[in-house]
């Protein structure tokens, strides 16, 4: 039974309870397990059913009323066809041995031919929805912690960093900085104490891949951090998780104590002199705390206001010590890179953009969910092949990527590849991978206002351009929406945007005007129509 936050909200906990009590009442040997989420959120609640020698079958939109039928079919070696979404005959967990489930049920569509899954390539989410995130043995069963063992016992810290450099992995938290190079900065610092941090603040509203990574495969993140700590020379790690994610915190906490019991966290790991511990620190609802210097201030118990860099965290980070910060998904990629080698990883995706990215496909799209595709996949493939187009057949006007720091990309540019350089070229950013689909009825001026309202409220107030400038942008946008603006107001809006971008202290202000700039670039007619209206009234 898939039991992540979204599944539970769709009623998965009630289905689980119903299955549990029904199983207790019958005499067949049926085991019930909890798994995370496979990412097809629209079809929740999802139940995977595996009968001996048969493929794993994913049942979708399961309700409490279906449980009797499911168990009855299982007892006779079958599955209810009307609930079957697809079947998986075998699965490659990449790190561990191939999992062979079985054959048969040919009339159920194969996973590989299901439109939602076909274009996907699961690396980060390779075990999400298939293993129990609360059971370290299931992580071991898919090759868990073997990459850590290899790194610590067969590789020097420099080898590990080298492998990450040649993998070409870039940070998944926003800016896309090469991870191996970043590790090297902190590695090279001479200090008795160093820290590594996992940024799980996931501030972009509309992006929830980090939540799923933590809820579905928490040990993968711990293993990535352990390998990084070994390479960098850190003994302590911190996972900074936003307060809105209680289930992620619960599962990470459980994973940490299991890893401690197995000697995978603590002193002298694998009998070597490498020791490492992890603490979870909770956020408290401030978007700016995703920014690394604000995040550090927040962990130290201060208000989360960014400070100018340099010094960078690599020189002076948490408690003044050299600190390396990476996003949840960045850490998640480390075990596969060490296991299969940096060269293998660099072959996935497109040049300068190796690996996959998990995107959250939400808004007015038919098949909402989390989709993991190689970098360089087009927006069209994501929205139309995986997402099956607009909600209830509606026409699509644009997608918004990169959250409040990103921009709106019109449907005419949907052949744009999802990679760092191309997204920047069209005025948006990769960000954390949030993709919000907007139908033709969505007003782009209102969308721009929504984001400026958001960043204005989340501005920490430290620097003037961001604190005052965004307020003025908001006033002008309100004026335009109310039909009281003139053409000159649009020009002032553009001018202010440029000023705030150039003069703000941190990334929040420097990127906040992007939603306005991209909507002005691609949907200027909508602004002008509103101005036109005010002139004629």
């Amino acid at each position: 039974m898939g039991l992540a936050t979204c599944g539970i909200a769709a009623g998965a906990d009630r289905v689980y309870a119903a299955l549990e009590s029904a199983i207790r009442k019958q005499e067949h040997n049926i085991q019930l397990r909890r798994v995370g989420c496979i990412g097809y959120c629209r079809e929740e609640p999802l139940v995977n059913i595996h009968l001996p020698g048969k493929p794993l079958v994913i049942l979708h939109r399961v309700t409490e009323a279906d449980t009797g039928r499911i168990l009855h079919a299982a007892a006779t070696g079958d599955v209810p066809r009307d609930l079957a979404l697809c079947r998986i005959n075998a699965w490659d967990p990449i790190v561990g041995d191939k999992l062979v489930f079985g054959t048969g049920f040919e009339d159920i569509p194969a996973y590989e031919t299901t439109p939602y899954f076909a274009p996907q390539q699961k690396i980060v989410l390779r075990s999400a929805g298939l293993i129990n995130p609360e059971d370290i043995d299931e992580y071991f069963a898919v090759g868990g912690y073997t990459a850590l063992h290899k790194a610590i016992t067969e590789m020097s810290p420099a080898d590990v960093v080298h492998e990450v450099i040649i993998s070409g992995l870039r940070g998944r938290g926003g800016a896309g900085f090469p991870t191996g190079l970043k590790w090297n900065f902190t590695k090279e610092e001479q200090s008795l104490r160093k820290y590594i941090i996992c940024n799980a603040d996931e501030g972009d509203p509309g992006a929830y891949m980090n939540r799923n990574e933590m809820e579905s495969d928490p040990h993968m993140i711990l293993e990535g951090m352990l390998i990084g700590a070994y390479a960098i020379g850190a003994r302590e790690g911190v996972i900074y998780v936003r307060a809105e994610y209680p289930l992620a915190i619960e599962r990470l906490t459980a994973a940490i104590s299991q890893a401690q019991r197995h000697g995978l966290l603590g002193e002298n790991i694998f009998g070597t002199d490498f020791s490492f511990s992890v603490t979870i620190a909770g956020g408290a609802g401030a978007f700016v705390c995703g920014e690394e210097t604000a995040l550090i201030a927040s962990i130290e118990g201060q208000t989360g206001r960014p400070r100018p860099r340099p010094p960078f965290p690599a020189q002076k980070g948490l408690w003044g010590m050299p600190t390396n910060i990476n996003n949840v998904e960045t850490w998640s990629n480390i075990p596969v890179i060490i296991h299969r080698g940096g060269k293998w990883f660099s072959g996935i995706g497109v040049p300068e953009n190796s690996g996959t990215k998990v995107f959250s496909l939400v808004g007015e799209v038919e098949c909402v969910g989390l989709a993991e595709v190689p970098l360089g996949t087009s927006i069209r493939t994501l929205v139309f092949d995986i997402g099956n187009g607009g909600l209830r057949g509606k026409a699509i006007k644009a997608v918004q990527t990169g959250g409040p720091s990103g921009g709106c990309i019109p449907a005419s540019l949907f052949d744009t590849p999802l990679d760092y350089a191309h997204l920047t070229e069209v005025g948006s950013i990769m960000g954390s991978g949030g993709v919000v689909v907007m139908g033709t009825e969505t007003s782009m001026v209102d969308t721009a206002r929504f984001f400026i309202g958001f960043t204005d409220e989340e501005s920490c107030g430290k620097c003037v351009p961001c604190r005052e400038g965004l307020k003025h942008m908001l006033m002008i946008l309100d004026k335009i929406l109310a039909g009281r603006a003139s053409v000159a107001d649009i020009e002032i809006l553009e001018e202010l945007s440029g000023l705030i971008r150039k003069t703000s202290l941190c990334g929040l202000g420097q990127t906040a005007p992007n939603p306005v700039l991209t909507t002005l670039r691609y949907f200027r007619n909508e602004y002008e129509a509103l101005v036109e209206r005010s002139r004629s009234s």
Partner: protein
């Protein structure tokens, strides 16, 4: 909250890393807000000026300085929820709960409590349940695919008896 309860919470954070926010978060979760006397006690205990704790309490939106209603209705105002109609959800909730008509602009932050203290209506940035947008949370339960018309039935699960003053 008494001193012994606060001591127990502080003891759970032996290291300085993440302690201040962690302690305040526990107090907020248990008491439903940060009572003044608790902040005064913690200021002494953590050897911090009260003004600094106050500054933290007002900077982070998770903390509140006033008691919230018995049930807290939190509407997601994130992008996916906005696109899928969150403003209409807030509007209906305002009317059903009879709070702050017009005070919420549909996308700003707000925190309103009913006269009988049974409900508070507030906003969040994103629950990470964006696939089910629009989303609202009541206490610890998340409801997805909400439409204005589904709200009365949802509220009734939390002992809401309807708004008798007007007809909707």
């Amino acid at each position: 909250m008494d001193a012994a309860q606060l001591d127990t919470i502080v003891e759970r954070y032996p290291g300085a890393t993440g302690r201040v926010l962690g302690v305040l978060e526990q107090v907020q979760r248990r008491a439903g807000y940060l009572p003044r006397d608790a902040l005064e006690y913690l200021a002494r205990k953590l050897a911090m000026p009260l003004s600094e704790l106050y500054s933290i309490a007002t900077f982070y939106s998770f903390f509140t300085l006033e008691a919230l209603g018995e049930h807290v209705v939190t509407v997601c105002m994130g992008t996916a929820c906005h696109v899928n109609g969150a403003p209409r959800i807030v509007e209906r909730l305002e009317r059903l709960l009879d709070v702050g008509a017009g005070e919420t602009t549909g996308d700003g932050k707000f925190q309103l409590t009913t006269a009988d203290h049974a409900f508070s209506l507030t906003s969040a940035r994103c629950f990470g349940a964006c696939s089910m947008a629009p989303v609202l949370r009541i206490d610890n339960r998340i409801f997805g695919y909400v439409t204005p018309d589904k709200i009365p039935a949802i509220l009734r699960q939390f002992d809401w008896e309807g708004n008798h003053h007007r007809n909707y």
